[in-house]
């Protein structure tokens, strides 16, 4: 459990430091059960901060998407640290970003939040539709949902986000300050979800994906929400060379999804931000998880767990599998 008072105190202390520019955390959302990102620029802002199972966003994305606007001549860019609150899964994004040299370790001040799981907002909304204002808390193995003066308890399993159901790293793997006590691993990943899809016949697979891919609006939200997608100029929307056309049809959409997923192979840290962002409910994690599984099984590699390990596809082992090669 994270002590909110402590969390705010630490945030206040941190933002008061000279070398810290902002603290990124969570604050209550504007409707329903939501929470949203908070940007603390001065100590008073910290009073809004919260942490609850509604804090689903991966704040590590903000470290890398900030625009680097031209610095006026004679001035130096603001090099103060960004402090960011991360759950276990989110912390892996930081590790992976460090592995990819997105920034130096001392650019960030990591505030670790040992996490017992967050909700799947879709499941919450399906269960409690059209609630304009409500709260979610985790108590033991139950989520306590309160709204309009009522309180309901739901078994944790029923509303828990899928990614949390297989979370092996609930306690952040990197942090400068830990905002709570270590949480013991409460789940493991057996990839049974991927296996279900793998077992489908060729035609079933394509039928499954055709439905999803053709629905994709190509809004690129999945890419933008991803903490690992921060290229200045993404090749998937580049005009020269044009890897795929911007036009929306099953062909270009499929190409987009193959390419996006491949670009995350060995890099995706399974935070689920892409899927959460997708307005068309495309099961992006099903794609990411196939690579994740193969990468682990074939190359014994787990992205976002060790900032020192070399990038997966920039290394090889002479013993890599090759039974498929003619």
């Amino acid at each position: 459990m994270v002590d909110i008072t402590k969390l705010r105190d630490i945030a206040k202390e941190v933002i008061s430091r000279d070398d810290v520019r902002q603290v990124i955390g969570y604050r209550p959302g504007t409707y329903g059960f939501r929470a949203r990102p908070a940007f603390v620029l001065e100590p008073a802002d910290a009073d809004e901060l919260i942490f609850s199972p509604a804090c689903i966003n991966n704040l590590a994305t903000y470290i890398v998407i900030e625009e680097k606007l031209p610095v006026p001549r004679g001035q130096e860019p603001d090099s103060r640290k960004v402090a960011v609150m991360v759950k276990g899964c989110d912390s892996r994004a930081i590790i992976q970003q460090l592995e990819e040299k997105a920034y130096d370790r001392d650019h960030v001040l990591v505030l670790g939040i040992p996490c017992e799981g967050v909700v799947d907002m879709d499941k919450v909304n399906a269960r409690f539709p059209n609630v304009d204002k409500g709260d979610i808390a985790l108590e033991g193995d139950k989520f306590v949902i309160s709204f309009n003066g009522t309180k309901e308890e739901v078994a944790k399993d029923e509303l828990l986000a899928d990614k949390c159901k297989r979370c092996r790293y609930p306690t952040p793997l990197v942090s400068d300050e830990m905002l709570g006590d270590e949480v013991e691993r409460f789940a493991d990943d057996d990839f049974s979800d991927v296996e279900v899809l793998e077992k489908k016949s060729r035609d079933e697979k394509w039928a499954y994906w055709e439905e999803k891919f053709s629905r994709c609006a190509r809004c690129y939200a999945c890419r933008n929400a991803c903490p690992m997608c921060y290229c200045e100029d993404c090749v998937l929307t580049r005009l020269e060379p044009m890897w795929m056309r911007r036009s929306v049809d099953i062909s270009e959409n499929t190409a987009y999804h193959i390419a996006r997923a491949y670009h995350l192979a060995g890099r995706c840290i399974q935070c689920g931000a892409c899927e959460q962002a997708c307005p068309m409910d495309i099961p992006l994690m099903d794609l990411n998880r196939k690579f994740y599984k193969d990468v682990r099984e074939l190359f014994d590699y787990e992205p976002g767990t060790d900032a020192e390990q070399p990038p997966l596809l920039s290394t090889f082992s002479v013993d890599d599998r090759e039974d498929f090669i003619l």
């Binding site: 680097k68 031209p70 610095v71 006026p72 001035q75 040299k101 890897w243 990038p311 920039s314």
Partner: protein, 678 residues
């Protein structure tokens, strides 16, 4: 070249080789319809003078700026036609070849299919040609000097060859003397010449050669640059002896308070030395060295009233104030000849090396049988670690015992997965035979037995030598001993004779372990300096196992001797001579061509992730800090002199920021499209 592409397409008949199967006229008609094709022609032999003249003429008269030649494989004539373009004043990289012979007319009999395929191949070539860019074929000057790291026999030989050819050589050896392992040996198989007799003259030559700058007791600290232009930094460790004054008389060594107290590395710890010493009498240079760790003055700050050596040295060569010296110089090529370490026998505890005095390694035994070695060349039983009794004046020293039986065990640390060495060390069979012979020679009464897995006598005169040794009465037992233990003052070797499948316990006085050759424990240092690769056995990796056995992946860096893999002296010397001549090629020509189809980074989109850096086998890419609109960000930068144009980086880069010239995404994707469409 700017402006709209104006492409000429030239379809070759190659006599009937192409035209016999492919409808050349039809292909030309098709080529004329491809956008941006200004002219399409066919001709009987494009590579002939009139054929080439056709191209030159069109370039000049029609203003062509791209050329597609549809003929044989680019591996055959790409260079020819590049020259043609060059001759016509067009950049040679504006050429694209369409291979419609080897990969079309010669492999498909069906004329219709072959004609169709030719069209596709040509279309793909045209769409690529449309996007070709002019490339620079650069050359760099070569500094006429070579750095050689390691002065074993390999390094020495290479140094002499290069110096004799008139080039400057910097020979850097880390120990106080040159010679390496060969200097430790007594006789050499299979001819039994005396190692010192053939090696010492070369050692002396190396020290005296006007073109060789010898730096012993030195370490290469930094190497940067690329073929032709390496910048080298060497640390010459101080010996605390002014080498210009030292006459090598040795008065200091006998005077040293610590004389005889430390194991001499050169004698594999079997002989002793003082704090100031010469590794062996014929050491080159014959200059004494103070070992900092063992010197009382240097380690404790005090050695009696005054250090005795200082007093003893007449020319006043000893100076404890001396410091390491750093020297910088430039070379064009580098030869790595750092040799090997012998296998650490303690890693096979079953052989009880280090437990029983008379289990010795072959290298120790080499020192023992060596006339200038610690036992004066006698084969004797050892009493190690036992303090020598101070002998009283005039007292006869008790003669050491001669072993009644000596047993060799081969393949210790070689061909042995349990210690991670799968390879054969290639010299152990033969040096065992040699040492067995020497035992027969020096202790004729001793019984000699060899345990072996196989005897590999593959070299010139090897089998004959092995045969001779066996005939001399050396007993060979096929079987790998499993254990050595002591019983009643004797060593017992437990083994199984695998030829007869009988277990046996063999009693002996002395066991010699034929230890294998291993990569140096400090291999990493050199790897970090030169970014060399290692093969799975951890020896340095050559560029190609058959055809470039002395080259490395890095241009201008070559390998010689055992550092590349186990070998005997003749092979080490042969490779050294090979490496020397390889190193001299760029120096002799004075210039090296640099690959033109190198990679290039778009710094505005590069995210500085370093994926490309990690992938590049030639360490041609580095991350540098750039200023992007006031921000200090990292971006990749390619050193074109190092890049070999493999394109691996381009496939590793997610943002498409690094691209291989002539094989850019922008050039390949249209090709894919042209081939895919129909």
């Amino acid at each position: 070249m700017n402006g709209k592409p104006r492409i000429g397409v030239y379809v070759c008949h190659c006599g009937t080789n192409i035209a016999g199967t492919v409808d050349v006229e039809e292909v030309v008609r098709f080529a004329q319809t491809i956008p941006d094709v200004t002219v399409a022609r066919n001709y009987s032999y494009m590579c002939s003078d009139p054929g080439q003249a056709l191209i030159v003429d069109d370039i000049e008269k029609m203003g062509l700026n791209r050329v597609v030649v549809a003929s044989c494989s680019p591996r055959m004539h790409e260079l020819t036609f590049r020259k043609t373009l060059n001759g016509a004043g067009l950049n040679p990289y504006f050429l694209e070849m369409a291979n419609i012979r080897e990969q079309c007319s010669w492999v498909h009999e069906d004329s219709i299919a072959a004609t169709e395929k030719s069209k596709r191949i040509i279309e793909a070539a045209v769409v690529k040609a449309r996007r070709l860019e002019a490339l620079d074929q650069k050359e760099v000057d070569v500094e006429p000097a070579t750095l050689i790291i390691g002065a074993g026999i390999a390094g020495i030989q290479a140094a002499l060859d290069i110096a004799d050819a008139g080039f400057k050589v910097y020979l850097v050896e880390k120990s106080p003397t040159v010679g390496g392992h060969m200097a430790q040996l007594d006789k050499t198989f299979p001819t039994l010449d005396c190692s010192a007799c053939i090696l010492t003259p070369k050692m002396v030559d190396v020290a005296n050669h006007p073109n060789i700058e010898l730096m012993t007791y030195s370490k290469v600290e930094d190497i940067s640059g690329y073929v032709g232009n390496f910048d080298i930094k060497v640390r010459k460790k101080t010996r605390y002896v002014d080498v210009s004054k030292c006459t090598g008389c040795g008065d200091c060594a006998s005077a040293c308070r610590q004389a005889g107290r430390f194991a001499n590395e050169f004698d594999e710890g079997m002989g002793m030395r003082g704090a100031i010493y010469l590794p062996f009498p014929q050491a080159v240079p014959a200059k004494y060295t103070v070992d900092k760790e063992s010197c009382l003055f240097l380690s404790k700050g005090k050695c009696g009233e005054t250090p005795k050596c200082l007093e003893a040295c007449q020319p006043k060569a000893i100076n404890f104030e001396l410091e390491d010296e750093i020297v910088d110089f430039k070379v064009g090529t580098i030869i790595v000849a750092t040799g090997f370490d012998v296998f650490d026998a303690t890693l096979k505890p079953e052989y009880a090396y280090g437990v029983y005095d008379n289990v010795v390694t072959a290298l120790e035994f080499e020192r023992m049988v060596n006339a200038s070695g610690p036992t004066g060349g006698k084969v004797v039983m050892l009493e190690r670690g036992k303090k020598k009794k101070k002998k009283k004046e005039g007292e006869e020293e008790e003669a050491p015992k001669v072993p009644e039986s000596v047993t060799f065990i081969q393949c210790v640390g070689s061909r042995d997965k349990s210690v991670g060495n799968e390879y054969c060390s290639r010299v152990c069979c033969m040096y065992t035979a040699k040492l067995a012979h020497l035992v027969r020679d020096k202790a004729p009464d001793a019984e000699v037995t060899v345990f072996y897995m196989d005897v590999r006598a593959f070299g010139k005169g090897f089998e004959e030598f092995y045969d001779r040794v066996r005939r001399e009465g050396v007993r060979y037992i096929r079987g790998n001993p499993s254990e050595i233990y002591r019983k009643n003052g004797k060593l017992i070797v437990r083994a199984e004779d695998t030829l007869t499948s009988t277990p046996l316990e063999h009693e002996t006085d002395m066991v010699v372990l034929s230890v294998g050759l291993c990569p140096r424990t400090d291999t990493r240092d050199v790897i970090d300096l030169l970014k060399l690769s290692q093969s799975s056995d951890l020896f340095y990796l050559e560029a190609h196992p058959k055809l470039r056995p002395v080259d490395t992946a890095s241009d201008g860096v070559y390998l010689a001797g055992v550092c590349q893999g186990p070998k005997d002296i003749p092979d080490a010397v042969a490779q050294a001579k090979g490496a020397a001549s390889a190193a001299m090629i760029p120096m002799a020509s004075g210039k090296v061509k640099v690959e033109a189809q190198t990679s290039i980074v778009d710094e505005t989109t590069c995210r500085g992730c370093g994926f490309c850096v990690e992938v590049c086998p030639y360490t041609a890419i580095e991350l540098v800090e750039i200023n992007r609109m006031g921000w200090h960000v990292k971006a990749a930068r390619v050193n074109e002199a190092l890049c070999k144009g493999c394109g691996a980086c381009a496939a590793a880069c997610l943002s498409g920021s690094i691209q291989q010239r002539s094989f850019k995404d922008l050039q390949l994707l249209p090709q894919i499209q042209a081939l895919g469409v129909k």
